[in-house]
């Protein structure tokens, strides 16, 4: 817990510095602070200096905080306090501290597939090695390429302590709360009647846009307890635009939006487009509209070059980081290939985007794209149908979400007296971004994902709700922005409408998400299987020599146990256990003639047919020191029992999970098996 307190203290000092010295409103400072931390740690990680970089960051926070404490501001005393304690900053710090204490008590664990196949494992790898997950040793046969923004943010929260999944959840949630605070923005205390429902709306958003079934099954809703990047990507997208709106109204340093935009593009490779949309909106707002000063064309021309330069900087911030990361990854992939791993990755999203534009313009594209054009047509058609008919949210299909967001934006335009053109432009451009994002997703289905993923629009909701979340938060932010400064009858009615929207969203969330099946009341029993699994891995590691490598057997596995034990065993490395051609990384080992029928889905699909001698050679060639038998079945016993010195008697009797590889023989290792 001390590491969490240190991280929050460092963030508080950094926020104080940003507010006092850079005049960033207190509600925006957490998002700017977290973005700066993520940017710095990403660069330090790429340079191979993550730990020293983190130490420098903490020192910089301390120094900044000290400077801010010494610096006297005009109107210090009561006014200074008022500038630090606003509805947005209060909501942020109250929620962050409450969640820090709550998670420390409840200690939720990772539970979803992708948390083990990437997000959680990468976070653990980074924390235990004090280096980016891209360079840590692990049994994956491929080079991890996903962007590191969230992973390094998780690292920031546990630099000075031991790794725990709940700290990762906390880091994600603190980022979400920072974006919510940016949506509430510069709202003043006298307008708390606007800030409170706006905060309630933000709180509901991650559920409202991602849940479409009642969570009455044993599976709990993992909103606010997940290390997936989809929700944060959407929230940061909306938060970045909200940040800019409120920053521009204040006297804050404009450059502080750049790290926020960079973070937006550094969360997931497939949501990079969102950062371009956010940057485009900020750039357009900056170039097209002038805040204060002379009106008309003359006023617009004044300082145009400076504004244009800043707009270019906005576009460059996410793009430069993204390209820098891609070039870093390309270098690692080449090294990985030279070391015998996979030397290829899927098409880059930038290449795909350029090819997509060429396709739209009717220009020739390479064979790779020409052959997959029918897939693009299919994905486009299916997505169009899904937009109208596939339930992805508590409000129904995408068309309903788009309509709700459009309604809010329309209301904003009507209420924004004197800024109607500006709000109208923001609405139209964000709608254009939505179309562009859909086009990019169709391109991804056609040219990046597997054919089966394209045919079934796999994870359509997860990819698309990211934009809906960001778009909606943007709409709420502009509405709050407009309502905050108006005192007449219509804005007062607008505040009532915001309150009503909050109540409807809270009611709907309460209707579909039972508190006991959510972050607000989950049973620790839900994580009992993960705890037992971790105990089994720990018990196995206790009887192994340090630095050992483990061959993994779990009959009937579809890859889940291989991934999850790869996570549990760290820093001990679980081998890929099988080869790419025969489907490694979890599955069923057995003699070719024992392959079960299709009705036994997992065993049939993920079957690794090896003769006894082939399997023995596979284990020996892998360089593993031990074999971990998570689950054995009759196929395994019949196929390979002869290779084990006791004929697998100890494993069958539940006396051990571990066999040592010694002189070409596999002998049981005595251990206490957790049950």
């Amino acid at each position: 817990m001390i590491d969490i307190l240190l991280a929050l203290a460092a963030l508080w000092l950094l926020c104080r510095f940003l507010t006092v010295c850079c005049r960033v409103p207190a509600a925006l400072a957490p998002l700017a602070g977290l973005s700066l931390a993520a940017l710095w740690l990403t660069l330090a990680g790429m340079a191979g200096l993550l730990r020293p970089g983190a130490a420098v960051l903490y020192l910089a926070c301390l120094a900044g905080g000290m400077v801010s404490l010494k610096k006297s501001r005009p109107g210090s005393g009561q006014t200074a306090l008022q500038s630090l304690i606003t509805p947005g900053s209060t909501a942020f710090w109250a929620l962050s501290l409450a969640f820090a204490v709550y998670f420390c008590i409840r200690q939720p664990l990772f539970a979803d597939f992708d948390e083990f196949s990437f997000w959680g494992t990468a976070a653990k790898l980074t924390c235990i090695n004090n280096a980016l997950y891209t360079t840590g040793e692990i049994g994956w046969a491929w080079q991890a390429t996903q962007n590191p923004g969230l992973i390094v943010l998780g690292y920031f929260f546990q630099v000075w302590g031991s790794f725990a999944p709940w700290k990762i959840f906390l880091a994600y949630d603190v980022l979400l709360f920072a974006c919510f605070a940016a949506v509430i923005g510069g709202t003043r205390w006298k307008n708390y009647a606007l800030a409170v429902p706006a905060a309630a709306i933000c709180w509901c958003v991650p559920w409202f846009f991602t849940t479409y079934n009642r969570t009455i099954y044993n599976a709990i809703s993992t909103v606010y307890m997940s290390s997936y990047g989809d929700i944060p990507a959407g929230v940061v997208f909306g938060g970045a635009v909200a940040y800019w709106l409120w920053l521009r109204r204040s006297a804050g340093r404009k450059w502080t939006v750049l790290p926020v935009l960079a973070l937006c593009g550094n969360i997931k490779s497939n949501t990079f487009v969102l950062s371009l949309v956010a940057a485009g909106l900020v750039a357009a707002d900056c170039v097209l509209f002038v805040s204060g000063g002379q009106k008309g064309f003359a006023g617009w021309k004044c300082g145009l070059a400076k504004r244009f330069g800043f707009a270019l900087g906005c576009m460059a911030a996410p793009l430069a980081l993204y390209l820098g990361w891609n070039s870093y990854i390309a270098r690692l992939v080449a090294q990985n290939a030279a070391a015998g791993g996979m030397g290829t990755t899927s098409e880059s999203i930038v290449t795909v985007a350029l090819s997509g534009v060429k396709i739209l313009l009717g220009l020739p594209v390479g064979d790779y794209y020409t052959q997959r054009l029918p897939r693009l047509a299919q994905a486009g058609g299916d997505m169009q149908s899904a937009f109208y008919h596939t339930n992805i949210s508590m409000l129904g299909p995408g068309v309903m979400l788009a309509a709700l967001t459009a309604l809010l934006l329309l209301g904003t335009v009507l209420l924004a007296k004197g800024e109607r053109l500006r709000m109208g432009a923001l609405s139209v451009l964000s709608a254009g971004g939505f179309v562009g994002y859909n086009f990019m997703l169709a391109l991804s289905y056609a040219f990046i994902f597997k054919e089966s993923q394209c045919a079934d629009l796999v994870d359509y909701n997860r990819y698309l709700y990211t934009y809906y979340i960001g778009w909606f938060l943007l709409a709420v932010a502009v509405l709050v922005y407009v309502l905050d400064s108006r005192e007449s009858l219509l804005p007062q009615l607008g505040r009532g409408a915001v309150w009503l929207l909050a109540v409807v969203m809270l009611w709907r969330v309460n209707q579909l998400v039972l508190p006991q099946m959510s972050v607000l009341g989950f049973s620790s029993n839900y994580f009992s299987e993960q705890r037992l699994q971790q105990a089994r891995a720990d018990a196995a590691r206790a009887v192994m020599q340090p630095g050992s490598r483990v061959f993994f057997v779990s009959q009937g596995d579809n890859g889940y146990y291989w991934f999850s034990y790869s996570y549990d065993f760290l820093p001990t490395v679980v081998d890929y256990s099988g080869n790419m051609e025969q489907g490694g990384g979890g599955g069923t080992f057995g003699l070719p003639q024992l392959r079960p029928g299709e009705e036994d889905h997992n065993r049939y699909l993920y079957y690794h047919p090896y003769t006894a001698e082939q399997w023995r050679q596979e284990v020996l060639n892998s360089g593993c020191d031990y074999i971990f038998l998570n689950e054995i079945d009759e196929i395994f016993i019949q196929s390979y029992a002869e290779l084990f010195s006791d004929g697998l008697a100890a494993a069958r009797g539940g006396e051990t999970l571990v066999y040592q590889v010694e002189n070409g023989c596999f002998t049981p290792v005595a251990m206490e098996v957790p049950r």
Binding site: Y192, A193, P197, Q492, G496, W499, M517, L520, Y526
Partner: protein
Amino acid sequence: MKKQWQKAAALLQKPWGLAAVCYAAALAGWLLYGVFCLGSDSLSAVRGSLREQSMTVQDFQLVNLEQTGENTLYTLNGDPQMILPDVSGQKIRSLTIQAQYTKDAREMCLYYTTAPGQDFSQEKRVFAVQADDGTCTYTLPRTRICALRLDPCSPAENELLTMTVESITLNAPRSAAAYFAPGWAGAFNLILWPGMAAALLNIAAGLLRLLLKGRKPA
């Protein structure tokens, strides 16, 4: 007295005034409700109409369930039910069950009726809160309960399972403190809703002020 009213009016006009009143009212309401529930249950316990009762599998009418041992049940389809057709002679506040399942139990819920002969319906059901040891507790509304139907699991198609019931208890004992503990979600609601109420009152007051201002002669 007049001064006190003036002070109260001045408090309400401050930005924090309404919020403070709403939070105080919510806290007082919560405590009063706790006192009422504790008192009412204690009185019922003394009268003997509210008592702890240990149940066995044999006490229930089993539907879509086959008893395969003293405490073991095998599901015959995806909708197993354990029914207590008449519990109207006593007050029922909760049902607690501890059971082991061979496969994923999925949805669990408890239906109740509030009048004799009434059908079970989706409008009258509650969901379990699971303790850290896996015990599930269904808390019923404080009303007359005539019949109960426990759906102990909802196995998926082709995933029929065996459940071993370790204990079923009606009206499991509750400490006095439990009547005043809101739980995590309750605590969240106690923070959220008074704030929302204050916001609504503030908006309404603002609207009223603007409307009255508009009616004033120039």
